[in-house]
Symmetry: C2
Subunit: 328 residues, 2 copies
């Protein structure tokens, strides 16, 4: 069923049908009403593909992701895709894998003429690939900053969070603190690590250990915690995110360490698991709602369009104190 057929049946022109389904188009209310009603009967709905072709607007946003293991990302993606749907945009998912040819994986991003690209992959994509993938279209990075490229981004204030953790450790009397990195070269890690180390020094605390987990995983957190435990001298650990912290917490408890009495533990993100009684993890909450709102607003007002100067939006988070630092 096409607009032309429908038009013929009603004895109107195809343009009329098109206008009936175009908000704000120049058409008499009665005609629109008549067409829309008849369309429902014969189950006509405008073909989005044809519309894309003539309007050169797809209403599709490409979402590039690489890590669905860390629950923070599914939660973010879920909210994001819903927010986009609410304003009439669909999400085309690009689940990229380290290793295989990225340009091949992302080639559809260009061929499909997506209106915008949202990149949530903290790692993997190098500057040039980013540039290539987003070339000539609106783009937003979430949770990483562009290094050499000029892209807008929405990112949690990692430094603020890391300082809040450091201050909190200091406030509860800890003086020999450790930091466990996830992937050390990621934006998020660098910002958290640098700010934490700096504030630790400023507060006169000692950085008793600095470990690179090499991945943001539960098991990396476990072995990092055991390393720290083996060398002693630590009374608080800041893990670069909650998944690492969860592993660390479990490993410490299994080793007979009392948390928080012997060692306090903090994470970052505030994934739902952090609130589970078993973990009861102090952490710095990344406000997913706000991140999504800001990103969607940037899309709507075009401030991330290709010509525009890149915008960096820092989102404030919130320290959530829980039992793993003794405040439960």
């Amino acid at each position: 069923m096409t607009a032309r057929e429908l038009a013929r049946m009603l004895g109107v022109s195809q343009s009329a049908v098109s206008r009936a389904f175009t908000p704000g188009a120049s058409i008499a209310p009665e005609l629109r009403e008549k067409i829309v009603r008849f369309a429902e009967n014969v189950d006509y709905h405008p073909n989005a593909i044809a519309s894309m072709l003539s309007k050169s607007r797809t209403n599709i946003v490409g979402i590039v992701i690489s890590d669905m293991q860390n629950p923070f990302y599914p939660a973010l993606i879920e909210q994001l895709s819903r927010a986009l749907q609410r304003i009439g945009l669909q999400s085309l998912m690009f689940n990229i894998t380290r290793g295989s040819d990225l340009e091949e994986q992302l080639s559809a991003l260009r061929r499909y003429n997506v209106d915008a690209v949202i990149i949530i992959s903290a790692t993997i994509l190098s500057g040039p690939t980013l540039q290539w993938a987003t070339d000539g279209r609106a783009a937003i990075l979430i949770n990483r900053v562009a290094e050499d490229t000029e892209l807008s981004c929405v990112i949690c204030n990692n430094a603020e969070g890391a300082r809040a953790i450091a201050d909190h450790f200091h406030a509860i009397g800890r003086r020999r603190v450790a930091y466990v990195a996830g992937l050390s070269h990621t934006t998020t890690n660098r910002e958290r690590q640098n700010a934490f180390i700096t504030r630790v020094a400023e507060r006169g605390m000692t950085l008793s250990a600095l470990i690179d987990g090499n991945e943001y995983s539960y098991y990396a957190g476990r072995s990092a915690a055991l390393d720290i435990l083996a060398r002693g001298e630590t009374d608080a650990i800041f893990f670069a995110n909650d998944i690492l912290a969860a592993g660390g917490l479990d490993a410490l408890k299994e080793s007979g360490v009392r948390v928080p009495e012997d060692i306090a533990v903090a994470g970052f993100d505030d994934i739902s698991m952090a609130a589970w009684p078993h973990y009861d993890l102090t952490t710095f909450r990344q406000p997913i709602d706000t991140i999504v709102d800001v990103a969607v607003t940037m899309l709507e007002n075009g401030s991330c369009a290709p010509g525009q100067p890149p915008v960096i939006r820092r989102i404030s988070g919130e320290l959530i104190k829980r039992g793993s630092t003794g405040v439960s």
Copy 2:
């Protein structure tokens, strides 16, 4: 840069350009070579939208999901979207929300002319809505069966799993067992629950409790476990999935119950968390790889096309024995 412009520059016809990018098209190898090479220089790539319009094939699969909180689904979706990408299909994500108007949320599914629909939402969608959403196109349900509609599906052998758990409980000497449902009306729950109860009776064990958690969540698992504990009389609990089981396990341990000595615990799915030393959860693994393979194969060979009779593919799983039933 369009095919026509490129063609004019090279002094060939637009058809030639089209053929150069169409595998198997009738074109001389040298001409194709020449066009493809030149295209790279001027950064031409075929416009997928236009191609969709003329071929009336989009290479897009709509993926309908509703629950990203249970880690099983992100894991499944990640694998699925990668497998689809590998055969040249992109995934358009439809994250639906209970409550708001589903037909509105899914209207894009029809307007976008997706080649196929894969529905992973265990709940929410009623029969008629399913019918409406998939009308006239290839469709596959994953992890639920169609009730009154004629749709193909790929689903874990839930009954097999539930029986394996019951048998395992019996084998380790448990006789008073409980079952904790997630959403009781879902396909997965009903199949697991019925098979479990039946086998429990066959083995001469007693069903000491049957609780409906009303949702597949950690907290529902906790309160179910506490309920069961309060009424005593139970030495093994089968939770309808791993997230429930995780909550249940934690609640039991916090109450001073020894697992598995006092009460053995089993889940279903084998999400990555189940293997964590802290949970060390006996569970029935749903083989995500196989499920994805089968679904993708069905798409490829067209056995789920609109005209075809519905196919139901039962996927066998595997009992993973761990510490929560004493086998660690």
